[in-house]
């Protein structure tokens, strides 16, 4: 009989001391917090995460009130605080990534700058070396040839007597050494080359023209065989035109029998092959030196 009173009394006591179950809102807040605690917030925003935990604890504690609206309000606050911690964590993570990228970017830019500087230095050194080589090569030429800087380019004058026998267009053995050194000089530059053959005024103009063309061509062939690119080289026969000395003396005629190798100022046009220009067409022939005086006509004699 006494038990029949005790059981309902105990049940009433349990009900009085117990509290309501977690609402869906509170369960959602708990799940969100658990997820956030595993994310970047744990590393980057621990203070915000602690605030969220405190709000969640308060929401759980409010279950004792058995007031659903109170629990949901507290759960909603915990959910917001958790979302703030989560977002702050991602923000800090993004900021760390940004800062790392910017730091790496500065290093990369320094490397690019340094690399560009190194390339410029290398180019400068190469240019200086090439200029030095060209100057040395020119000094070498000046030992056996006349080298002049003129409006159309650098003109190397070789005496015909050294290069050819009288009336011939075959190179003498001694000429080959000199022309090989000329070839070395020409190979140091990318500029186009014009080879002009000249004779003295003895013999017919027609024969002199043909002889000068063959001599220019012989020199051209030798230079290209020595490695001067054929598309940079052009040969021209000038006959007895443009003498540099009087044809009245044997000494003057020897000076007029010559080959001029012109390293032109304009850059070579790629793909234009070695050609032979007859140079015919009067004083306006291509490659003629404007500053030189035309020699007076001389009676035709044997071609030299």
């Amino acid at each position: 009989m006494r038990w029949s009173f005790a059981i309902p009394a105990a049940a009433a006591l349990v009900l009085a001391c117990g509290h309501m179950e977690a609402t869906p809102q509170l369960k959602q807040a708990q799940a969100a917090y658990d997820k956030a605690a595993q994310g970047p917030a744990a590393q980057y925003s621990p203070a915000d995460l602690a605030t969220a935990k405190k709000a969640l604890d308060q929401a759980n504690a409010s279950l004792e009130s058995n007031d659903k609206e109170l629990v949901d309000d507290k759960a909603s606050l915990a959910l917001s605080k958790t979302a703030i911690a989560d977002s702050a964590g991602r923000t800090q993570q993004a900021a760390a990534e940004r800062d790392a990228s910017l730091k790496e970017l500065n290093i990369t830019r320094d490397q690019m700058l340094s690399k560009t500087q190194e390339e410029l230095d290398r180019e400068r050194q190469a240019r200086t070396a090439a200029e030095s080589q060209l100057a040395q090569s020119r000094k070498d030429l000046e030992q056996f040839a006349r080298v002049q800087d003129m409006a159309r380019g650098t003109v190397i004058t070789l005496s015909g007597g050294v290069l050819f026998d009288t009336g011939k267009a075959e190179l003498l053995p001694g000429a080959q050494d000199q022309l090989a050194r000329v070839a070395s000089y020409l190979k140091n530059s990318p500029r186009p080359v014009v080879i002009e053959g000249y004779t003295d005024s003895r013999g017919s103009a027609k024969k002199n023209q043909a002889l000068s063309e063959r001599r220019a061509q012989a020199v051209s062939d030798f230079l290209t065989a020595q490695g001067v690119p054929a598309d940079r080289v052009r040969s021209v026969g000038k006959g007895a035109s443009s003498p540099v000395a009087s044809n009245a003396s044997s000494n003057g005629r020897a000076q007029n029998r010559r080959v001029e190798i012109v390293l032109e100022n304009a850059p070579a046009t790629a793909g234009s092959p070695a050609t032979t220009d007859t140079g015919r067409g009067g004083s306006a022939a291509p490659g003629s030196e404007p500053e030189k005086q035309e020699a007076p006509a001389s009676p035709p004699t044997n071609p030299r």
């Binding site: 609206e69 109170l70 309000d73 507290k74 909603s76 606050l77 917001s80 605080k81 979302a83 703030i84 977002s87 702050a88 991602r90 923000t91 993004a94 900021a95 990534e97 940004r98 990228s101 910017l102 790496e104 970017l105 990369t108 830019r109 490397q111 690019m112 690399k115 560009t116 390339e119 290398r122 180019e123």
Partner: protein, 123 residues
């Protein structure tokens, strides 16, 4: 005499119990409104998620104002939630812009590294 004192004390205690929660301090409303304003100023309204939380903050604030007289305890909770929603709107807006900055910095770095590795052969 002692009897009268006991009666008075009981009456005061009963009065306090019947008066309910104290009114919400005006400063609490000012704080929530300031937080909402700060969220608006950093452009939360231009961020889809930020805009959503900004609206919730404004709704909670309006509810708190409505309940402040009759149910100040609930009004205080709604103010807490309004302030937290505004703070969340700010945080999300900041996160979006920081993420965009991080992505941009990474793209710039990748381009620079590509340029650096592509300049190996001289100019």
């Amino acid at each position: 005499m002692l009897r009268w004192l006991s009666v008075t004390a009981f009456a005061v205690a009963l009065g306090a119990a019947c008066a309910g929660a104290p009114p919400v301090p005006a400063q609490r409303f000012t704080d929530a409104e300031s937080e909402i304003k700060a969220a608006q100023e950093i452009g939360a309204a231009n961020n889809p998620q930020g805009k959503l939380h900004l609206q919730q903050a404004q709704d909670q604030l309006a509810l708190a104002k409505k309940l402040s007289k009759d149910d100040p305890a609930v009004a205080a909770r709604k103010l807490d939630n309004a302030q937290a929603e505004a703070e969340l709107a700010k945080s999300i807006t900041r996160e979006t812009s920081t993420r965009a900055e991080a992505d941009e910095a990474r793209t710039r770095l990748q381009n620079a590294q590509k340029n650096l590795s592509g300049t190996g052969g001289g100019r």
